[in-house]
Symmetry: none
Subunit: 325 residues, 2 copies
């Protein structure tokens, strides 16, 4: 354990954590960033077109720039999982899995989100054997194969588009007619001959022997977007699709276990409740990024970085500008 007491420890090294570090350095806050995945989930994003300043960049490249900038300004970044954060008499103790313990006067929780499971038979069994939660990481293993992407949001859409670079055919299956794809992605998917979209269906099983060989799905709605006859697609009818890959993109949930252990208040969906300064319910604990209630829960790289900046600014005002004694 180091003997020093940092002004600030930022837990999480994604856009929010690195954004906070950049501002913490600007404010001369002695701080470190600790996270299990440097760059966070964004490193899995194959192409980003909506972060202002870059017309087109991969998540890995963008996060590489954040890390370099953060370190150049004086930020210290440690790759380690955090097992616990404990309130002490003078501040907080952060317990790293491999690198030991660190203490600080203040904390920014930039914990991000974790992929949600479908909880269907075969999902756990075939993880890494055809089942993946990360198209960017694993697309290349499905060259010439048929794959399915499951989900109705932007991460499903971008996964499907990315997979067409490698796969023979990509079927996108989603639950509701009311999807939340950005219209820009819908346009691109409709124009891509490798992509087929199937609406209004639930996956009931992932099948295979030693690896994935197919999925079973069930129409849940009155009709699919393919204009099929209603009578042939009524609820309950099961269909099979032969695929070698299953990419699950059914959403994420806040990685709030550390926050809950610390006693920070969360809402009924486990998002950390923050005020306009990004302060949580515990003094000197702030939050930034996808995990909290700020920015109208609009979970984007740009909002995460901004929230990190606001949190660092608030801590600076609190720790350094308050009357002494």
């Amino acid at each position: 354990m180091e003997n020093k007491i940092y002004d600030l420890i930022i837990v999480g090294a994604g856009p929010a954590g690195l954004g906070a570090s950049i501002y913490a350095s600007r404010y001369k806050l002695d701080h470190l960033v600790i996270g299990s995945e440097i760059g966070g989930q964004v490193v899995e994003a194959w192409e980003i077109e909506n972060y202002a300043g870059f017309e087109k960049i991969s998540g890995k490249d963008l996060m590489g720039k954040f890390v370099k900038q953060s370190e150049k300004l004086g930020g210290k970044i440690i790759k380690d999982s955090v097992n616990n954060i404990v309130k002490t008499e003078t501040g907080f103790k952060v317990v790293g899995e491999k690198t030991g313990e660190y203490t600080a006067q203040s904390i920014i929780l930039a914990l991000g989100m974790k992929p949600r499971k479908m909880n269907v038979p075969g999902e756990d069994r075939f993880l890494g054997k055809g089942v993946s939660y990360c198209a960017t990481c694993d697309a290349m293993f499905f060259r010439g194969k048929d794959v399915v992407v499951i989900g109705g949001g932007d991460s499903a859409a971008t996964a499907a588009i990315h997979l067409t670079e490698f796969a023979n055919k990509v079927t996108l299956i989603y639950k509701d007619e009311k999807v939340s794809f950005e219209p820009a992605w819908i346009e691109q998917m409709k124009a891509n001959p490798k992509i087929e979209m199937i609406c209004c269906s639930n996956i009931t099983e992932i099948k295979g022997d030693t690896k994935v060989s197919g999925i079973v799905y069930e129409m849940n709605g009155p009709a699919s977007t393919r204009g099929e006859d209603r009578s042939s697609t009524r609820g309950g009818e099961k269909k099979e699709l032969a695929v070698q890959g299953v990419f699950i993109e059914v959403g994420t949930f806040p990685g709030a276990v550390l926050a809950k252990n610390l006693g920070v208040k969360t809402d009924d969906q486990d998002y950390i409740i923050v005020d306009g300064t990004q302060a949580t319910s515990i003094e000197n604990v702030y939050s930034a990024g996808d995990i909290d209630t700020s920015s109208n829960k609009f979970r984007q790289i740009i909002t995460a970085v901004a929230e990190g900046a606001v949190a660092a600014g608030s801590i600076y005002k609190k720790l350094k500008l308050k009357p002494k004694g």
Copy 2:
């Protein structure tokens, strides 16, 4: 006047307006951006080191990238002053000074702030050559230099304190004995050997050749805080101070005239009041950037862009995802 009705008109072409445009394009909102200064106030920043993704970039270059990206994604940007925004039966009419009138279903006010000027000789001439209205942006360029901060409010105090991290000496000059510094600031400034405070003085000139070399100031009151003899500091006596930097912090004001005419609610400092979705008090009118109460009024490029993104996302949900009919 064009006959078409846009989904959205964004008034203001700084980081907030361009950030909103990038997201509006991703959401296929038919929109235009109209502003008198493409890039906004940021184009005046000679070096930016706190926008994540760029270690070092000029405001002009960064805004150039924003504009290019925005246009590439489909945003239409018009350089014009807006004289008025009027509520109509079906939406809003935006009256451009030179290019005519435009109509839209929704509005984002991204009007920004205006620094208050002192209106003294040299102020305009040395802008960016030693004269700055933003200590946070520019402090680091005065490492080891002598600078003066002008102003009697908290922004002047924080500027002075921030500048001591870099500058050799910081002189804070203010007009009245009755200042509005928080006591915490005064305490800190008095305890800081790098800061000297001079009361009761007006700046009459900023001097230099190609860049700032000094200022001329005039005692206006009965005595300075340095306890000088009253007779030696009587009104009208001019003094010179050699400095390389002049930070003018005599206040800013939200460019809120258009908002007020439209009837949008503002707080007692003229900031537009918004909720978490960036919505103002008028339906289908949103706000983003320095001019509003969001992001804890932390006025940074990254927060402005993020607020623009949130506003565009909110409008997309409101106009395009609402139940039809």
